[in-house]
């Protein structure tokens, strides 16, 4: 077995072989990814925005669930590393003919894939794939169910570091549908590992996982209290499909209590930044004046996402 059985994303030398989750990812590797991404930001500002690291490698974007931003930025990142990229939207492909995930992957591996970028509605699907691929193949989780979205977590850490320099004195609020959010889980694990002293989650009881406090976060049900004096506001997307369930009265009701408006944001520090992983529901979790305002770093997040994905791909492919 070439992988560490206690942490299947690391090889036996403790190096990153797959990226599946930020939970339990050693701080040294997290900082290495953030530092490497900084160097890639430099590359993306040049005349020629490509480096030759993954020349001759085939990267398969394997999306069993729709995505625009994540899939596109992974594609751009792979192309800037000089890899060949193959995009597969599986919901309109073999899955509809009854082929299993592992059969799909085995067939693609036979086409000499070097890396799989996996998005799947089921938590754990990337682990299953990572367990079954040949040792020279790398798997990167691009979002699995409610479980994890590690590159989103990393790009948000990169964004915070870019504007705030240092995590050791920050107050960060994660606001919205924490219960269904793989992004929120990745945020909490990453912020904890990087030494953020105060992580708050702000949400109604119905949208918080049970025993969320055991992750070391402070829970607020009142957004005005939760945003008081924070340095960073991380908004989550309210998933429209949750509206059908009994968890929420209505989108209007949610906006009234948990939508980020200019007057609620005024309670945070005056230089606080606002993040959102996209896609945004304007007028549901965030007001347009905030989303497009001076404290919003939502579009820089997207740009930094390319550099983070370049860093992750070039680190795993070299190990």
């Amino acid at each position: 077995m070439w992988l560490d059985p206690s942490n299947p994303q690391l090889n036996k030398n403790g190096e990153l072989h797959h990226l599946l989750t930020l939970e339990g990812l050693p701080a040294g590797i997290m900082w290495q990814i953030l530092d490497t991404a900084k160097s890639f930001v430099g590359v993306t500002q040049r005349e020629v925005k490509k480096v030759p690291l993954l020349r001759g490698k085939a990267v398969f974007n394997l999306f069993f669930e729709p995505s625009t931003r994540t899939r596109t930025t992974f594609e751009i990142a792979a192309k800037r590393l000089s890899a060949d990229v193959i995009n597969l939207a599986i919901n309109i492909s073999s899955a509809t003919k009854g082929e299993s995930v592992l059969d799909t992957v085995a067939n693609l591996a036979a086409m000499q894939a070097d890396m799989f970028i996996v998005r799947h509605a089921s938590s754990g699907a990337p682990y299953l794939i990572a367990k079954h691929v040949a040792p020279e193949i790398h798997v990167i989780n691009a979002g699995d169910g409610r479980h994890a979205h590690p590159t989103q977590g990393l790009l948000d850490m990169f964004t915070i570091r870019h504007y705030k320099k240092d995590f050791s004195s920050l107050k960060v609020a994660v606001v919205g549908d924490v219960l269904h959010s793989r992004v929120a889980r990745s945020h909490i694990h990453a912020l904890t590992t990087l030494g953020c002293p105060e992580i708050r989650v702000v949400a109604p009881k119905t949208l918080l996982p049970k025993a969320v406090e055991t992750l070391g976060v402070h829970v607020y049900h009142d957004m005005r209290q939760g945003l008081k004096d924070v340095d960073v506001v991380m908004m989550l997307r309210l998933q429209n499909e949750r509206m059908q369930s009994a968890l929420l009265a209505s989108a209007q009701e949610f906006y009234k209590y948990y939508g980020l408006t200019a007057d609620k944001l005024a309670l945070a520090k005056s230089d606080a930044i606002v993040l959102h992983p996209g896609p945004m529901n304007r007028g549901v979790e965030i007001d347009s004046s905030v989303a497009d305002g001076g404290q919003s770093v939502i579009l820089p997040q997207v740009t930094f996402g390319i550099a983070i994905r370049m860093a992750v791909m070039s680190i795993v492919a070299g190990n």
């Binding site: 290495q32 530092d35 160097s39 590359v43 005349e47 480096v51 030759p52 690291l53 070299g318 190990n319």
Partner: protein, 169 residues
């Protein structure tokens, strides 16, 4: 321990400055290769009173040993604060050995533009070339056992010195 002591880096640097002085004009772009080459380039830039700001390169994204040993752990950001297109450039490195680092640096430079020319300055040339690359400005040529690594160190006062290290350690 090696039998032959290494030369004094500060003396070699002075020799290098005098060799480069007639060649480095006001529009010359000086580019140091991380990390030792950047320290040297900073000193050269000051001594030669060059008008164009100093550039630095970390060649990790262009190295030919990536497939074998992976990405370097501590990649610095390359920074070329001037237009490379049509300019006379001088690359600066501490130890010239196989030439592979210089090959990587030239590949990276061409992704910024097409320079008029590239010259190479090295504090020491230890021979052992694996590629057809030569330096135009050299502080000293030295003979060292192939097992020995040499690197540049910078003390707290900024003083530069050459030291041995055991390769593979």
């Amino acid at each position: 321990m090696p039998g032959q002591p290494l030369p004094d880096a500060e003396q070699l640097l002075q020799a290098l400055i005098e060799k480069m002085r007639p060649e480095a004009g006001p529009q010359t772009g000086l580019i140091g290769i991380h990390t030792g080459g950047v320290w040297l380039a900073e000193r050269l830039h000051q001594a030669l009173q060059l008008a164009v700001p100093l550039g630095s390169l970390d060649v990790s994204f262009y190295r030919d040993d990536y497939e074998k040993i992976g990405l370097h752990k501590d990649v610095k950001r390359s920074d070329i604060p001037f237009d490379v297109e049509g300019r006379q450039l001088i690359l600066v490195d501490d130890v010239l050995y196989t030439g592979r680092t210089i090959r990587a640096a030239m590949n990276e430079l061409f992704d910024y533009g097409r320079p008029a020319s590239i010259q190479l300055a090295a504090l020491v040339d230890r021979g052992g070339r694996e590629l057809p690359i030569a330096a135009q400005f050299v502080g000293a040529e030295i003979q060292v056992d192939p097992q020995q690594g040499i690197e540049l160190k910078r003390g707290e006062s900024g003083r530069l010195s050459l030291v041995f290290y055991t390769q593979g350690a």
